[in-house]
């Protein structure tokens, strides 16, 4: 019996193993891939950052955002303008700028949607963020300075001192480094006492107010942090692709981000990454094999997965929805303090 249990790892161990596996594969992949595929996987890494931003707000704080593309696209446009009009391409300027744009814009949106006296409904926030994304898209399409429908093409390459970071292996590792750093930061955040407060808000927001929590402020903070993550992704994406266009801000991408996360598994962080990998690979294969009808096949496939695996692909590996946030006794044991009652579980 004990032997059988020894062979059955806990869901947390499985998630950690998946993280190590994916990290190892991503670290070694450029050694085995051709240039085209390195570019493809770099795009996947950047979109994984974007999916993490959505998982943070929906999977952990229960805020339904259909507007993550707004922060992604706005940051992309700002760094594109910096490069085009000011000649600023330094990685040490453009990516912090992208982060700051995502953070500031998300805080602005949160101020309108979340920081009123009365707690907003889930639908209100979902529609509010959707409207923001749509408005951003329309604004970019109609503003000549932003390139209108065509966006801003031919963004000069990102630089680090005299070195240009062009698409390929160097950019791949830059994107991977950001993904690892952001993933680790998200993991730290959701496993902290702040993460416990987010879990409380997700489960029963009204009850949290009766404890004395500034519920809406906490939600605005996590929403802004997620906006910053989307901003970094937007900055990376703009320089990687070499151009920005209105779709980067719009509702189609915003919805796609939701699908990535639902497909992979909400509230697990790793599920969002898996969702992006799976959808992007399947999309590519289907588009290659069925150039006309591939979106329909992909849509049906997504529906089937969500119907039969509502917890996403992550549920193939862990038996129930497992979150990486562990708190209290299940987190690292707090140090013993004087007067502690003995007999704790």
């Amino acid at each position: 019996m004990a032997r059988a249990q020894w062979w059955r790892p806990s869901p947390g161990t499985i998630v950690a193993a998946l993280e190590v596996l994916l990290l190892s594969v991503f670290a070694l992949l450029p050694l085995a891939l051709q240039h085209f595929w390195v570019i493809f996987v770099t795009r996947v890494l950047i979109l994984a950052l974007l999916a993490l931003s959505f998982d943070l707000v929906w999977g952990f704080a229960g805020i339904m955002s259909f507007g993550q593309a707004l922060f992604f696209g706005a940051a992309g446009y700002v760094v594109a303008l910096l490069a085009r009009d000011a000649g600023v391409t330094s990685v040490f300027v453009v990516l912090p700028a992208a982060l700051a744009v995502g953070l500031a814009l998300a805080f602005l949106v949160a101020s309108f949607l979340l920081l009123g006296r009365n707690p907003p409904s889930l639908t209100f926030v979902a529609l509010g963020t959707l409207t923001g994304s749509y408005a951003g898209d329309r604004l970019a399409r109609g503003w000549y300075y932003l390139g209108g429908q065509n966006g801003i093409p031919s963004i000069p390459p990102m630089t680090a001192g005299p070195v240009q970071i062009t698409e390929g292996v160097a950019y791949y590792y830059l994107a991977l480094a950001f993904l690892i750093a952001v993933y680790a930061a998200c993991r730290f955040l959701v496993g902290s006492q702040f993460g416990l407060a987010l879990a409380g808000i997700r489960i029963n927001e009204a009850r949290m107010a009766f404890f004395g929590y500034h519920v809406q402020l906490l939600k605005a903070v996590v929403f802004s942090v997620a906006g910053a993550v989307a901003g970094i992704a937007g900055g990376l994406y703009a320089f990687h692709e070499g151009f920005v266009w209105p779709n980067m801000l719009g509702v189609i991408l915003s919805t796609q981000i939701v699908l990535y996360t639902l497909f992979g598994g909400v509230g697990t962080l790793i599920g969002a990454v898996i969702g992006v990998i799976a959808i992007e690979i399947v999309s590519f294969v289907l588009a290659d094999a069925y150039p006309t009808v591939w979106p329909v096949i992909l849509g049906v496939l997504l529906l089937v997965i969500i119907l039969f695996r509502p917890s996403g692909l992550i549920s193939l590996f862990v038996p129930r929805r497992t979150r990486v946030g562990v708190f209290g006794l299940t987190a690292r044991r707090p140090r013993r303090i004087p007067g502690e009652v003995d007999g704790a579980a």
């Binding site: 902290s192 006492q193 416990l196 489960i203 009850r207 009766f210 299940t330 502690e340 579980a345």
Partner: protein, 244 residues
């Protein structure tokens, strides 16, 4: 000065008047029972005090401060704590985390982000779990607790922030006789640290632990007094006891 003073509190839901000019006072260290037939307005009064409902009229002062329009969070930070009638524990979280969640509510954002108060609060979490006889259930998920244990966990969460006034809405609802007796034993020592208002249907339970009783009927205060005074009250006997 009384700890809590509710003066002429009125609460109407459309055409229905749930509370009509209710005066209610709780002194420091008091164990105050709130009783009355179903629909008499007990839970509504408790909700108005805790901020779950805003009164249509009247004023509520807590420690001399007007909290009539304050949000539930502001009232909680002022020292009020509510245990809901329907258990509202966090079922996906462990018993330990439920209490930690309640306890860390006043920690600043940076402390929460870097888990700076986790170790400091650990002792208090274990102390509360010990007081509420939940120590051996600390690692269990709240969803698997029995109904009585969930009620105790609710009380533990309400107590976590060391409130000045604890509002308990039917703390023994759905409990067995043994669990009711144990709950009474748990509540009486708490008066050393805070005042308590209890809404309860079980008159034997209320009689045993409360100093003062307020009887509500049809949204009005029928009588306030010691347990003996209430037991002797003809008005209460006529109106309340015949309807329960």
């Amino acid at each position: 000065m009384a700890l809590l003073e509710a003066a002429a509190v009125t609460k109407a839901f459309g055409q229905l008047t749930a509370l009509s000019s209710v005066d209610f006072v709780v002194e420091e260290g008091q164990l105050h029972g709130l009783i009355g037939p179903n629909g008499s307005g007990k839970s509504t009064l408790l909700k108005c005090i805790a901020g779950a409902e805003l009164p249509s009229g009247g004023r509520i002062h807590f420690r001399g401060r007007d909290i009539t329009q304050a949000t539930p969070a502001e009232r909680a930070r002022a020292g009020l704590s509510l245990k809901f009638q329907v258990t509202s524990v966090f079922p996906e979280l462990s018993v330990y985390d439920n209490v930690l969640l309640a306890l860390q509510a006043r920690s600043p954002l940076t402390a929460l982000t870097f888990s700076r108060t986790r170790a400091d609060l650990h002792g208090r979490v274990m102390e509360i779990l010990g007081e509420l006889r939940l120590l051996d259930r600390a690692a269990a998920t709240a969803a698997v607790l029995s109904h009585g244990e969930q009620q105790w966990l609710e009380i533990a969460m309400a107590l976590a922030s060391r409130p000045q006034l604890l509002l308990l809405d039917e703390p023994t609802g759905g409990m067995s006789l043994e669990e009711r007796r144990a709950t009474g034993e748990l509540l009486v020592p708490l008066r050393q640290s805070c005042s308590i208002v209890i809404v309860e249907h079980d008159l034997d339970f209320i009689r045993e632990i409360c100093d003062v009783l307020t009887v509500l009927d049809q949204g009005r205060v029928l009588e306030t007094g010691t347990v003996e005074q209430i037991q002797r009250s003809r008005k209460v006997q006529e109106v309340y006891l015949t309807r329960v």
